[in-house]
């Protein structure tokens, strides 16, 4: 099913990616092409097949509930785009 520009705009909004208006049509064409190509999976009989989520059995990894690291505020903040008094500075979220 081909994607129209409204759908692409909605998906881009969900993905939190700004897409300029003038690129929507081209992007809709590319994404529709990819989706049309993957639709051939419909030919495969998957009746009763369990979806595969991991190639090896997933082991539940347990560990003792102890503090393993911490006290590394400087390392955590080292790449912050903006920081102040040992905190990240982010855009206002509460008006």
């Amino acid at each position: 099913m081909p994607l129209d520009r409204a759908t692409v705009a909605r998906v881009a909004d969900l993905a939190r990616i700004a897409v300029p208006e003038e690129q929507l049509d081209a992007l809709a064409g590319e994404l529709s092409g990819i989706l049309a190509w993957v639709e051939q999976l419909g030919e495969v009989d998957t009746q009763g097949i369990e979806p595969l989520r991991s190639v090896h059995p997933i082991r539940r990894a347990w560990r003792p509930d102890v503090v393993a690291d911490g006290f590394c505020r400087e390392a955590i903040l080292a790449n912050a785009p903006e920081r102040e008094d040992g905190f990240f500075v982010v855009p206002r979220v509460v008006e």
Binding site: V19, L52, A61
Partner: protein, 492 residues
């Protein structure tokens, strides 16, 4: 001693241990080769000071008769592995200034083994690509490009910088990662060896995540023995990665003999594609003859769902990528482009920070995971993925390893196949099945195309059986006697 940069890992190790050469001397030779060949654009970040300091420390240990299995050996690292204090970009503008405060497990193992970091190699942005043309730091040039030939040939991708650096004698070996063919396809395009081990062999901790159920680290080198040596140092259980396997790592490099006598080698009939160049078909048949002549038994096997592997991959990988890349929001690290409010800041940051291919894959992934489409796309792909795994299980009931071409063509030129995303995706038709099934695979240089470009053969093994993969690869290497040299390397 001249041209130290041409030594392989095993050779250099012997000379270092004998003190016939020094680690500093060897490192300087590689750094000089890197500098002469900057036009290849193989490195995003060179680390000469760190390299020389590490080499000096290695020389001191070697002088005391100490040192790990890679003591004093200089290597390059794909710029997808976090390296403490050394910028790690993933080939993206969004991480252009990111300096990790921690080390990936794989690289930590390498430094513990005595290896020397030369620098961080170029790659497709977030490892998404098959030509190294999606990097925010520009395309990499394949050293097999003859002087004056324009536009240059691509090195393949996504680990294009690592492959070009090893092929161009800038370093003896390099790390890579492989999600759909990102080690094996560039190895084939550049005429070197590239191995991706079984999913779970190498820890993914500290590797910038693309598609977590498919990503696996591996090694590039100019010989099978060198690749085995590097991989052995990279592999091993890590409690920090819940998918890493708690299994001992065999002595792959020590046990390597190239013996295939009595092995059953499967030839999957579905890998004969319509329209595949006849030189690929010829090379494949020659590879089968080489193994037969050395005492292997060749059997035809069937992998009936092969043609569905790429479409499956292009649902599973973007879905996982859209989730993994949600972390790049411009708040705690990476690029931030300030907008009207929080959501607008997210959108502008991600819109400007991600390149076209990454954006495309995030959007596809978001779409196939969105309400109303999840079952039709994502769940369906996970079911087909199981059928692909079952194909391999049935094939491996009849043989010990599989032999296939690595890629459906030799290297192409920068700019070719860039108009149609699907045409670019077809590069990985023979490699992507291996990631979907989590198997080990290797590419070995086996010959030249009519145009004089390298072509590789792929060996695929059972889960955890890298040993057989390496044995078969060694046998191919011995028979192929691939000695051709890339014409696009600047000599001292």
């Amino acid at each position: 001693m001249t041209r130290l940069e041409r030594l392989g890992l095993v050779e250099a190790r012997t000379l270092l241990r004998r003190r016939a050469i020094g680690a500093v001397e060897l490192t300087r030779a590689c750094l000089a080769a890197m500098e002469r060949n900057r036009a290849l654009n193989a490195f995003i970040t060179e680390t000469p000071e760190r390299a020389l300091a590490m080499a000096e420390a290695a020389d001191a240990r070697l002088a005391r008769g100490e040192g790990g299995p890679l003591e004093g050996l200089p290597i390059a690292v794909k710029d997808l592995f976090c390296t403490e204090g050394v910028r790690t970009t993933a080939g993206s503008k969004i991480l252009a200034n990111f300096v990790p405060p921690y080390e990936s497990t794989v690289t930590a193992r390498l430094w513990a083994a005595g290896a020397v970091l030369l620098g961080k190699t170029n790659l497709d942005e977030f490892a998404m690509g098959s030509s190294n043309t999606t990097s925010a730091f520009g395309p990499v040039v394949n050293p097999w490009t003859p002087a004056g030939s324009s536009p240059p040939f691509v090195p393949g991708g996504s680990s294009g910088g690592s492959a070009a650096a090893v092929a161009g004698f800038l370093c003896p070996a390099a790390t890579g990662t492989d999600t759909g063919g990102s080690i094996r396809q560039p190895a084939s395009f550049c005429g070197i060896v590239g191995i991706k081990p079984t999913y779970g062999r190498c820890s993914r901790f500290g590797i910038v995540a693309f598609a977590s159920s498919l990503d696996q680290a591996g090694a590039f080198a100019r010989s099978v023995a060198d690749a085995a040596l590097l991989l052995q140092a990279m592999a091993g259980f890590d409690p920090k990665d819940s998918t890493s396997a708690e299994l001992p790592v065999p002595d792959w490099s020590g046990e390597l003999r190239g013996r295939v006598k009595g092995l059953r080698i499967g030839i999957p009939k579905e890998y004969r594609l319509d329209g595949m160049p006849s030189e690929i078909e010829t090379l494949w048949a020659r590879g089968a003859d080489w193994l037969r002549a050395q005492g292997a038994e060749l059997v035809e096997v069937s992998l009936p769902h092969t043609r569905y592997a790429l479409p499956t991959y292009y649902i599973v990988a973007p879905a996982e990528a859209s989730s993994n890349l949600a972390r790049y929001d411009g708040m705690r690290y990476g690029l931030r482009v300030t907008g009207r409010d929080l959501v607008d800041t997210y959108k502008k940051t991600r819109g400007e920070g991600f390149g076209a291919e990454v954006r495309r894959r995030i959007l596809i992934g978001t779409y196939v995971l969105s309400a109303g489409y999840y079952d039709a796309y994502y769940l369906k792909a996970q079911k087909v993925r199981r059928r692909i795994v079952e194909d391999f299980e049935a094939a491996f009931a009849r043989c010990d390893a599989l032999l296939t071409p690595t890629a459906p063509s030799a290297a192409f030129r920068i700019g070719e196949r860039s108009d149609d995303p699907v045409a670019m995706y077809l590069n990985d038709v023979f490699t992507v099945t291996v990631n979907l099934a989590g198997l080990p695979g290797i590419s070995v240089p086996a010959g030249l195309s009519a145009a004089g470009l390298p072509l590789g053969l792929q060996v695929i093994g059972k889960p955890w059986d890298e040993a057989t993969v390496l044995e078969v690869a060694r046998a191919l290497e011995e028979a192929a006697e691939f000695r051709a040299l890339p014409p696009g390397v600047v000599e001292a």
